[in-house]
Amino acid sequence: MTDVTLSPGKATAAVKRPTGASIGPRWSNALFVAPYLAFYLALLVYPLFKGIWMSMLQSDMFDDTSKFAGLANYYRLFNDKVFIGSVWNTIWFVVMTVPAFVAIGLLLALALNRSDRTSATLRAIFFGTSVLSVTIVTIIWKMMYMPGNGAIAGIMRFFGMEPLAFTTTASLALPAIAITTVWWIIGLPMMLFLAALQQIPGELYEAAALDNASRWRSFWSITMPSIRRTLLVVVIYEIVAQFQLFGQALLLTQGGPNNASRPIVLFIYEQGFRSWNLGYAAAASEILFIIMAVAALAQFFASRKRVEE
């Protein structure tokens, strides 16, 4: 059907075959990607553009008389202390959690990179919490943070300390959510690091041992360079994931106190479904989109450079 001219060897083969697959481009090959593209266009691309359009409307959830407002919603956003606060909260949350995920994940992976039973059990424990859903995780941590009846309060009182009010002190609310989040999904970075560590050829360490290199030195000169790619994967993945903070904040603190723990997604949700300001909520969505796109691009270029080095 099509001309096959890639290599002489194959050309002869192709002649024998009138109905089979061919190597060159063919429109029917698009059928493989068509089903996904349909979903992609209908449920991601279309909503994205619809959202951009909505962000330029002054529209109410139950009122069809939405009118074009240009960039008014954006202008309002940049003057909205609560929104600006939510942007900083989200960034601050990412700054707190991503290094924690990397450091704790890597430490656990290093310690548990062994084949004995104990290590397997420990790996299971640390990964196990990831399978719980966010509502269960927040119930569990509410029981920890509750000022009167919570476990942490009890422990602190036992040691004669005044219990901290995690979810109600402005400076502690977001860290409390961060701790909960790290506890919840530390399993994934740990596993990713474990997998990477197991790819490192043992000979490298043997050679280092012959040189009498310290554990510390072999970590920096062998382990770290070998897992650089995974490190990047984890960092990018976690940045993207933690930017989308929502459930923990809604269920643990409702964004309070004093707006100290309200992330962008919660702001979007509240504007949309509590205040019924669809246009305004859509505009906030676009800001989230832009921030994440920039973060993703920056990461992409940074990773390129570093891997090429």
């Binding site: 481009p25 593209l37 909505m54 280092a208 554990r215």
Partner: protein
Amino acid sequence: MAASERIVGRGIGNKVILASVVLVAIVWMLPIAWVLILSFKPNSELMISTASAFHPPYTLKNYTDIFQTSGVFRWLWNSAVVSVGVTVGILILSSLAGYGFARAEFKGRDVIFILVLLGLAVPEQAVIIARHQIFSDLKMHNTYPAIILPGLSSAFGVFLMTQYFKAIPKDIDEAAMLDNASRFKIFWKVLLPLTIPAQATLGIFSFLGAWNDYLWPLISATKPEMFTITVGIASTQTNFAQSEGLGFLMAQAIFAGLPVFVVYLFFQKYIVRAVAGAAIT
């Protein structure tokens, strides 16, 4: 791995490390242990204080109450349907598309692939308002398709599978082509079986993602009989439940967490391997 362990392993040092990790693990388990204990306490006692947690009486009533009445079973079932639906859907779509982008050329393919990759930068939350409007206009909310379909638009699976297909040596399908096989047959019979590790990885990520999703089901599944377990449990976390039915709430949390946890323990080995797979691709 044995080699690295043997060499780096320096007796005492390793034991100290392991011991401290065990300690951390115990701390890690504390929150769950605490909720577990509370779930066996009578509600009326907890209403006064949780300090009585370490003394009898204990009761199973909170758990038997679940069996009698709570919506937990229905919600678990909904979550199972939704998560399996999302997982199967993603595996099918991503495998086909991954093969297409990696192997089956057509005009404009590479441009389309880049456009799909750009989709990775679009967070679900950024399109949630528009999506809700779309499904509302179609009158589709409160159905399984409404909860499942948006998950299928994620570009992550396509990216993963494309990378995986690309890594398979071309000789393998070229050999099949010589045997007169059609494109689909090559995909289905020859290459797909080779991608099972990637399927497992993607499947587990998709399943866990769907099982734990909160925002979309929260605004799409608004009828109690369509709640997923995540939304359902949240709906019971009211003020009143926390003051007057704390033990019951704890039992619900434990009970709702149990199924996936058991599945996880069963398949732990495979899950670990699958997650590891993601790191290598």
